[in-house]
């Protein structure tokens, strides 16, 4: 079964793009750019790309409707080239978020199971397609029964690859109907997973290789029109940037390595926020409650979110202040583990993995709460300081003795 060309035109992130548009997908970026800007509709393409950037910088929820649907392929490729050229995590994440959200709403508007099926096939997702849809369960309140039906079941490995990153309780495998290796999934939820795929696809790692980036830039900026677009984007970014360029300074006690006091689950969220990655609901709640429990002032906590794609300062201030008033207690480790926010494995953190209290493994206590992590680390730090102080004192005394 081969995928309709029309679908690739509208969803150019599909792997088959390469087959159907080999002439453009295989070109060197500089060739592609020359090509685009010699086309008659180059003006429109670059306008579309600019709108996407502008929307992303302005925290819009979706890309404004554009009529140039037949230009989507060019827009997508140009967008990727720009993301690479700009080489800025905050920008990349914003674009990836917005673009993938837009993909979701396009699929939703499409409301076509067969298109969705083609997309899955093209992404090499193993899915079962049921047409007509099959029933996999019911929802029932009192005696009012509502059938749950779907066109799709997705292989659990593919499901995990896309869903476990979303850290959403509803998407936990244990909360979903799994049978014979396949998870029954409603069309909308499947679209959400595809959105995640697209988001990941746009996020290319920020390149460390400054030399090759530089030569890349030199090459592509030779094109005058491209250069103009690039600079236009850069200039609105510089203006917007100030609004959310509060990098989180965790320094409240004056110690610079205070990050070491925080458990992996906290560090991970702070890191994501710093890079402008979207945070899911649980992540937001947890980090707010956690920082508030450590007596961070509201504005400091709000700053953590200033880099997020959907940041709204006033709203956030209100929410954080409310949380402070309510004195919520941050999640404990077991809860964080269940919602996939525990990062002890990823960070190979000794305290989290092995517990504390004794050198003998069988006698160690398990870490139960991220706040306990901070306490234990603080305690250890103090002890070490004391030890160093005492040591310094001893050395001093020794030397004095020798002097006598």
């Amino acid at each position: 079964m081969s995928i309709p060309t029309d679908l690739i035109k509208r969803f150019p992130w599909l792997p088959s793009l390469k087959l159907h548009y080999s002439d453009i997908a295989d070109k060197l970026p500089s060739e592609f750019i020359t090509d685009i800007f010699s086309k008659s509709d180059s003006q429109q393409i670059s306008e579309c790309v600019f709108i996407i950037f502008k929307s992303a910088f302005n925290n819009l929820e979706d890309i404004p409707k554009m009529k140039e649907d037949n230009l989507t392929v060019y827009v997508y490729i140009l967008l990727n080239i720009l993301v690479y050229a700009l080489n800025n995590k905050l920008i990349t994440n914003r674009i990836a978020n917005l673009y993938s959200k837009n993909v979701y709403s396009k699929m939703e508007k499409d409301n076509s199971e067969s298109n969705l099926y083609y997309i899955c096939l093209d992404l090499e997702l193993r899915v079962n397609f049921y047409d007509p849809p099959i029933k996999f369960g019911n929802k029932m309140l009192k005696d009012n029964r509502e059938k749950q039906v779907t066109n799709f079941a997705i292989y659990y490995i593919d499901y995990l690859k896309l869903a476990s990153n979303l850290r959403d309780d509803y998407r936990k495998l244990a909360h979903n109907p799994l049978q014979n290796g396949y998870v029954y999934i409603q069309n909308r939820n499947l679209m959400r997973l595809i959105q995640e795929y697209v988001r990941n696809k746009i996020i290319i790692e920020e390149t460390e290789d400054k030399a090759s980036l530089k030569s890349f830039l030199e090459e592509v900026l030779k094109n005058q029109e491209f250069k103009e677009l690039y600079e236009k984007i850069n200039s609105i970014w510089t203006k917007r940037k100030e609004d959310f360029d509060f990098t989180f300074k965790i320094d409240i006690t004056g110690k610079t390595d205070i990050l070491k006091l925080y458990p992996p689950c906290v560090i991970e969220i702070l890191k994501k926020a710093e890079e402008g990655q979207n945070l899911v609901h649980h992540e937001r709640l947890f980090i707010v409650w956690f920082l508030l429990s450590l007596d961070y002032p509201v504005e400091k906590v709000v700053d953590v979110f200033s880099t997020l794609p959907d940041f709204d300062r006033e709203k956030t201030i209100y929410q954080v202040a409310y949380a402070k008033k309510k004195k919520y207690v941050p999640y404990q480790c077991s809860t964080l583990q269940s919602i996939n926010l525990c990062m002890k494995e990823k960070y190979k953190d000794k305290l989290c993995l092995e517990g504390y209290g004794s050198v003998e493994p069988s006698e160690r206590k398990k870490l139960k709460h991220p706040l306990a992590y901070v306490r234990i680390k603080q305690y250890r730090d103090e002890k070490e300081e004391e030890y160093l102080k005492n040591k310094a004192k001893r050395v001093l005394e020794e030397s004095q003795k020798q002097n006598e």
Partner: protein
Amino acid sequence: MNDFIYLKRLFQAYYQEKQFDFPKVSSFNLREFGLIPWEKKVFMKRHMSFDNLDNLRNYLIKDAPRHLYSSGSLYLKPDAQDMKNKEYQGCDFIIDIDVDHFYTPCKDQHDLWICRDCGEEGTGMPKICPKCKGSKFTKVSWVCDQCLDAAKNEITKLVFNFLIPDFGIDEKHLKIAFSGHRGYHLKIESEELRKLSSEERREIVDYVTGENINFEILGLNERSNIISGLLEENIGWSQKIMKKIIEVLNRPESVIETLLLDKNHFGFNSNVVTSFLKYKNDFLDLITKGERNVWAIEGFGLINWRKLLRGMVKQVGVKIDEPVSIDIHRLIRYPGSLHGKTGFKVQEIELNELDDFNPLDEFDEKLDPIVFKSKKKLTQKLEIVQNKLPISKIKGESFGPYVKGEKIEVPHHFAVFLLCKEVAKTN
């Protein structure tokens, strides 16, 4: 210490004799090996690798460590000292089921603990010392048929209630082994599972244990004083839980009562249980007919319902040692090697052999983990060095209980077991 030299020689002789039956794990030369030698004070040696089975066999014959492990992971450079340099290629999905990690009633008889703070002794699995409230214990865990049956039951649940029907895993990818002590390992060898990250593994673990299930998501909720619950027709955990409830409620009333009161299961107080039993038939009727979804039992609010469901999940879910499945850099016992705390063999078994497999008294010689059984009925004289030892039943014969200082004469295989356990010495 002399006894360790003796045991090491026994192990060497065993490896020498069985060298050509020694199994080879898949992707052998990509595995990291680790071992614990007999010499006390030497911790685990890791980051070893063997190019081929011959090298490993020769090593075992020459050095016969107390414990031998290999990694679930595959590495291009398994012997690199640093994880970063090993060039990780993937990891089998491993599930460890060990009675050490869950409660069995018989442990109250045969597992001993000694408080390190006050010297108090007792049996079972206390969290704190009843005398001084200390939490440091020396433990002597014992093998017994009931415990091993409980472990086997968990493996059976895992395979037949989860891995095959839900995950659709092919039997031929399952490798099961008796651990040589109080449990079983199960390894799923498949290319696609090997690529899973720790986070993705955690999702599978949560699925088979049911541990972090949120009942609200499955349908439990309260609206204007009416509670609706889960539905049996909903594939997945709802169905598992509801089937269990129906099964339990069809048991005799006295059995249900005991179960609901039992602290190790539901732990309800007697008022709640009385109320539940009064309405149980109506409730059973309601959920089997499935015409209405209104869970109404006097004294049952969301809290008690959750507690009931949690108790059901405990019955349905598999008790596994979670970190083993999630951590991708673990080592597990090498099949065919000897367990240095029992002298039993880590015995691989096929799924269809599992049902009849009886580690402490196995008839099929090929599957028998007790390898030091002397054909000539050799016996050995030992002196007990542990304060108290429980009764042991091995190879159909009962031994003990013993007390410290007792001089005994027992068959060779049991002597090896006591020496490995370090609870007796040779005279």
